[in-house]
């Protein structure tokens, strides 16, 4: 994850109606935002819908965005979280923002895949049972592979706080996984 200084320049150009500048921001941040949404949504089409929604909302609210140490990617992340909340509300899902949908079962006869899928589901369930900030630090730092610096900016915390949070989150998750296997 690279928070390049010229984001502010691109945002300023995009505000003046420069679609190419916004295209560059899109190129830069589509992947992490889309992957974050894929983490939270089972359906690929839903993830694309929400990704379009996130970048549209960001484009429409460029005038309100002020950097001040809060990078554009963190702004997108916040919009993505809000979009997810709206998505779940709209669908009247029984799940809340921090729950996980049931995975699609693999085809019959694929024992190995089935076992792997069950392990993944078990892992997801434990992850979603953690406190929200523990879930998020694991998603951003481990699953998306963001740097500590980027994770800190997205979560609006210091890098030291993110390191401590990650340690606690992994320790908590490991304990819960051990409890399940006992």
């Amino acid at each position: 994850m690279n928070e390049q200084p010229q984001d502010a320049e691109l945002v300023a150009k995009a505000r003046r109606g420069d679609a190419g500048a916004y295209g560059q921001l899109y190129e830069r941040y589509f992947d992490p935002i889309y992957r974050y949404l894929r983490l939270r949504l089972e359906d690929e089409t839903d993830a694309e819908d929400l990704a379009a929604n996130v970048f549209l909302r960001a484009y429409q609210s460029l005038g309100r965005y002020r950097e001040r140490g809060w990078p554009f990617s963190a702004y997108l992340y916040q919009i993505a979280r809000n979009a997810l909340a709206d998505h779940y509300r709209g669908r009247r899902s029984e799940a809340d923002l921090d729950s996980v949908p049931e995975p699609v079962a693999p085809g019959p006869g694929l024992d190995e895949n089935l076992a792997r899928d069950e392990e993944r589901v078990a892992m997801e369930r434990v992850l979603t049972s953690l406190p929200t900030d523990h879930q998020e630090v694991i998603r951003l730092r481990i699953l998306l592979g963001l740097s500590t610096e980027a994770t800190a900016r997205w979560m609006k915390r210091s890098e030291g706080a993110v390191r401590v949070l990650l340690h606690r989150a992994l320790t908590g998750m490991r304990a819960r996984m051990q409890d399940r296997s006992d």
Binding site: G20, G23, Y26, L39, L56, M123
Partner: protein, 273 residues
């Protein structure tokens, strides 16, 4: 209470996996590795990126008021475009500015003058044939603008030019289908060449332009195959393709207005008695 040093060490080892990690961190590092292996989402595909970008562009365009229906923006109406050009001339920009604007490109200062003059020419054209010939030449101009902007690497402006291209093709529905088919075949070839040069961010716009050109070509072919080419009495084949020739030939006839004009190029008509 987690000690900061321990948390820092874990953070460091996550980024640099190594069998030499301290023993007490190994279970947490194994868990982090396992999480990543089983649950990390794959990178977005190029197709997904392009689909979302295309959709985003559509939604941004849909959210904008359409120029032809924008009651509050007076300069986009033909009558006001004429007045604007006249005003610009009278204010000292003069005919030189109007002439200079002919070579301008989207994003240039004089480009709105160029488009205003086009709208004015269309407003002054008294016949459908004259309108059609003008629209054919305007579509070629839009293509030439895309080419020129691409050659200059002005990607933001290329994006804007690509976005306005489909409207230019819509106007060709009233022109001679055989000529339009050949013209759009050429457009497709040019856009294919441009495709290899534009950055990824402009690819979605380019695909839409290509799709529109190809669809327009196919529609023209269908129109051509459906019925014979209409005869224009008195048409001089030598001057057939020039807007001026068609305008001259048709000037004496009653004006009729063709449908399907692109936004921003509609004009009001005085009803024919």
């Amino acid at each position: 209470m987690v000690k900061e040093e321990r948390a820092e060490a874990l953070d460091r080892w996550i980024d640099q996996p190594d069998p030499g990690a301290p023993g007490d961190l190994v279970p947490l590092l194994d868990l982090a590795h396992d999480l990543k292996r089983r649950m990390a989402p794959a990178a977005a595909t190029k197709a997904a990126r392009a689909r979302v970008w295309a959709r985003l562009q559509r939604e941004v365009r849909a959210a904008r008021p359409r120029p032809g229906r924008r009651s509050g923006v007076l300069w986009l109406r033909p009558a006001y475009a004429l007045a604007g050009v006249a005003l610009a001339v009278s204010l000292g920009l003069g005919t030189t500015a109007a002439y200079a604007s002919e070579g301008s490109l989207p994003g240039d200062l004089l480009y709105p003058v160029k488009r205003g003059l086009e709208t004015a020419r269309l407003a002054l054209s008294p016949t459908p044939a004259g309108d059609a010939a003008l629209l054919v030449s305007f579509a070629d101009r839009r293509l030439a603008e895309i080419e020129a902007l691409t050659a200059q690497g002005r990607w933001a402006d290329v994006d804007a030019a690509l976005a306005s291209y489909p409207d230019a093709v819509v106007g060709l529905e009233t022109a001679d289908p055989a000529a339009v088919e050949a013209q759009l075949q050429h457009h497709v070839e040019v856009l294919e060449r441009v495709r290899s040069q534009v950055p990824a961010a402009a690819q979605a716009g380019l695909e839409q332009a290509l799709d529109r050109a190809d669809r327009g070509r196919q529609e023209a072919k269908d129109r051509k195959d459906r019925k014979p080419k209409p005869e224009v009495p008195g048409r001089d084949k030598k001057n057939e393709a020039t807007p001026e020739a068609l305008e001259s030939q048709d000037r004496h006839r009653n004006p009729r207005w063709p449908g399907g004009l692109p936004p921003g190029q509609q004009k009001k008509l005085t009803p024919t008695p």
